[in-house]
Symmetry: D3
Subunit: 245 residues, 6 copies
């Protein structure tokens, strides 16, 4: 049993609250254990220069943490005047993952801006961001379709993410919290579609390396966890869930 | 009667929720109508260079808005790589106001970091920030005293803020929401202590100017409104309220 | 009597020298005691994006100090690569104040750039900047009218500014120099029109707070001082003074 | 057969030239097909603040491309004044990978700076950088040991990297050049140790997703390719190869 | 005869006004025709890191133009957030030139900050800056010696600068104003010591090239002009002039 | 005889290798002793705003050093987020010099981007850059003419550069390496055309000054050295050499 009483293959408690903030087209507060992320989806009727006159849309993500989302206070990136490498990696990852399940032709020349703002952090903020952002985006696209601006619903599949890792005393475990993450030998983020295919796989062993067998163990835990997340997304989406092919 | 049904001298509905985020020493979600601000107070055992070895503490504030706190999405200041003049003005104002009611000798060589993050904006974000930040700071200072790190409670007085303004169809009104604010002829922010003295007064007439009589009308409305805010701060603070001299 | 021999309600010696620099459309050196500011007004035949095709003009101000305008040398903001919060606040204030007395429709799609460069500082640089910038702007607008590019003179009123404050040993005083300013309990900047109405009021008590009575005392001192400044502006403007309605 | 005549499991021609530039402690020009990267290793007798007085060393990497390393000219990141997200991701990856095979205690309080400068790009620049940087670092560490500044050789294992991917007409292929990379459905970077364990695995399907079977095919191709790279590293290292445990 | 009535070998009217601004240790307003530069010298009791504990001093210069020093308004470098290549070149040149005539050992571990702020520009701002800055620096060093902080006067020689150039209709000419400078085929800045030796020579022919004979003609004109500048510096310096060896 | 065995008037060994990198229109590796610079010329079918619709082209240069081109590692300018004054000076010099021998009308509305990247530095990097960049540019222009995009060959003359200086033990010497440069009393860069005229002359005596006689000695050495460089450029250019008028 893990420090917080979970089994190896057990997710933390997950809540997905929709309509959290009033202005965005889609707004979600996702809670995964003590990790809380506001995921807002905004629709802009413009695309970046490389897509102008292509008829295609775009999805881009930004990620940030409140300074005191963590145990000790971090300096704001706006005060530092630049975005850290870690932030850039995460926001590129979120955008790339979401684009994998969207039919960009079907949204027309529009940009979906995804803002993931972590208000409380306890590990797994990037995977919680992806899982929550999918729901916010689906809601925003639902409104777009309701307003007749697009005809076809552009989501090709569900999308969710979780982390797995190897910890000295427990071996492979699912959904690491901050304390587990900081002592993990190997850390892997898995992003999958509702069809059970991989969208992205990022496994890193800074303090250690991992074998093919360990890779399999981790992938299996991840797949199970992601199946549960799909159920929660469906519940949160209500009627819109039925539009996803 | 105003567009949202309020009287000229009526505040919007105010809620002050404490313990909103888990890590900070003091954490508050303040809601003023549709304006929502997370106010976190963090205590750091260091002071800026100009105060080292002075035995005195410092209070400094940062203010930010989530990109989609507003009707249309704003570019993040971290992406722009610099903080706007408006943000700077607001965070300097918040810090200055809070310092006016704190005995900086009594907190020792510590910095209280105040982070005001607007998650939903509908006018009056700077005054809501000050009113909420006071409560977050009081809670953080209460914990500091409970832990015996300081002996004397360092708050000399209550502190709250509101806005008043002049609107063509209604004359002077209290606590402007975004629509009122954007058509106001004159806009004034008032910050007062529990003793009814002014800490800061900022009145601006970009589209218009104002007379001495109008100034008086506005000051009166502001004083009334701030009295009500003190009551809500007291309720939110519970036991700590009694430590304020 | 104050340290420099002045009465409580006495301005420092003020000089407004026009035509100071050759290139700008309006150029003034204003001297207030030992504070000296070059105020240049430049006319550009373009407006910022938000005013294009509106038929309206714009006024924007920039403020800077030479590194050795002060007792000890300051690092240039161009070397630091960013503008301080204080500079931003001041330049926003100057621009806002000037816009209050200009009929922006009457200047057409033009921008008036106001540059206030402090070459010697002894307190009150922002209020001296506003008082001098008004004159530089009036001269520039006079030339614009002389050249038949505009028909109506766009200034609706005079505009001048001064500071007042509360000092322990003297109570309320007018036009604080640097030494008085640095020990003032309360500091207030007052900007008024020729009609005696307020354009902006900024009162701050960092070390102290102030009562309604003290506010009145300060406002009265400020009003008197500003009346004297209007006379000096009129003298400096000569023929152009008659065009102001 | 692929467009350039290679088999699915065939690397491009690889050359590792040591002593390429005279000043660095280790300097390598690695050529993988038309991709050419200068990999320099510099030893500095200091560590970042978080490691001071820890007795441990650090390895950090920087990556850059000459503006005309690519088909069309890119703007320099020094001219833009900031480093792109892609560059940050790559240099974090290189540093993390190298640290996985170095005994940081054995290098003492020193930093190994790895500079990977791409002078000609044709796909696979990040994996070529890692493979070349390993050799440059091994040479630098060899000199450090020869000079008696360290006793134990700090490399725990070999380290090399390659890319694999899925292309519509060929399925899984090894070591993608630029044209293959730009039309790949899935792209995966694999970094392994001489013991055949994974250090990092990054698989991305922006245009497509991938199944467990496809993952296995790609991993197998990658493992084969990396074995060949280890042989070339050994040849390039000469005597130093024997010091690696 | 030139457009402004001067002979080929004639300087514009030069004035050197000392004590222009009150705070700096040395302050000069130099006027060369319509070019006006405030040159301030500030003494700081610190040296840059590379000189600490060397017993030697340093001289560094900064150069800037007011936005409306020129015919059309320039954007401030502080607003752009970076210093242009032209400004960097000029301030490096001023610092280097001044250091050539100062005995850095004799000033002890102090930095002389030279600020050259152009308030009105009509060509030759960099050479006017050097000529004026020399006087400001000499005054500041005179005060330093008067206060007994240094024993020996640290100036080894006079230093002045002027420009020469080749213009189509006049051939070689001395001290180009802005209109001459903008149509010059060749432009050369000459900096010399009181002993008639060169400190710096920068000749550029962007639109044309120049022969050895033309070089000689220009050098002769420059030498003559600089002799006259030395006389004006001597007059401006008064008693301090005698301390220069 | 100098430390490296050269006579006073002897260049270091020079090699000019063309076609060094595959993508640029012109690519050269120039080696001058131990100094090695990659000079790439790229042609872009656009000009900067100030030349649009003028029918004229432009030439602009960028200069950089790999971090470990020098004895000790330098921080990348992209990491610092800004370009140093030294880099700016050098790239402005390279661009200006090349423009002096190009008929900008003959290249049409195109920009020639010159990238000089120093991979190994031992003094004289800016003059080596100019000498090498001339060859890269000539090759790029040759291709442009071969492709019939321009009719006339736009090079009006050869262009090469070298350094001369005064060293205590040897007097005037040609082509200083790093050690000589760092102890030189006077340092001068000379850029000349194939016709023997000066394009730019930059002589600096930071630690010393120089007389007219010394200037002549240095100019003579420089002229001789540059004649030799023209021969090497001709050899490197092959057939294209004949197109230069």
């Amino acid at each position: 049993m893990r420090a917080d009483g979970r089994e190896k293959n057990q997710l933390r408690e997950v809540k997905i609250e929709t309509g959290y903030v009033m202005h965005p087209e889609g707004s979600v507060l996702i809670t995964v254990g003590n990790t809380k992320v506001i995921c807002n989806a905004s629709i802009e009727d413009r695309v970046p220069p490389f897509l102008r006159n292509s008829g295609k849309g775009w999805i881009t993500a930004e990620y940030s943490m409140l300074p005191r989302a963590t145990e000790s206070r971090n300096i704001r990136e706006s005060s530092k005047g630049k975005i850290s490498g870690r932030t850039m990696e995460i926001q590129r990852l979120i955008g790339r993952a979401l684009r994998a399940v969207v039919d960009l032709d079907a949204i027309g020349e529009r940009t979906i801006w995804i803002d993931c703002d972590v208000i409380q952090a306890d590990g797994g903020t990037r995977t919680a961001s992806i899982t929550g952002a999918f729901v916010a985006m689906a809601i925003a696209l639902g409104k777009l379709q309701d307003s007749k601006k697009i005809s076809r619903f552009p989501l090709k599949s569900y999308l969710a993410a979780t982390s797995v890792g190897i910890i000295e005393e427990h071996g492979s475990v699912l959904d690491l919290n901050y304390i587990e993450d900081s002592k993990a030998l190997v850390d892997m983020n898995i992003i999958m579609t509702g069809e059970g295919e991989f969208v992205e796989l990022q496994g890193t062993g800074e303090e250690a390396t991992f074998t093919m067998n360990q890779l399999h163990e981790m992938l299996e835990l991840g797949q199970e966890g992601i199946q549960e997340l799909f159920e929660m997304q469906k519940n949160a989406l209500g009627e819109i869930a039925q539009r996803i092919q």
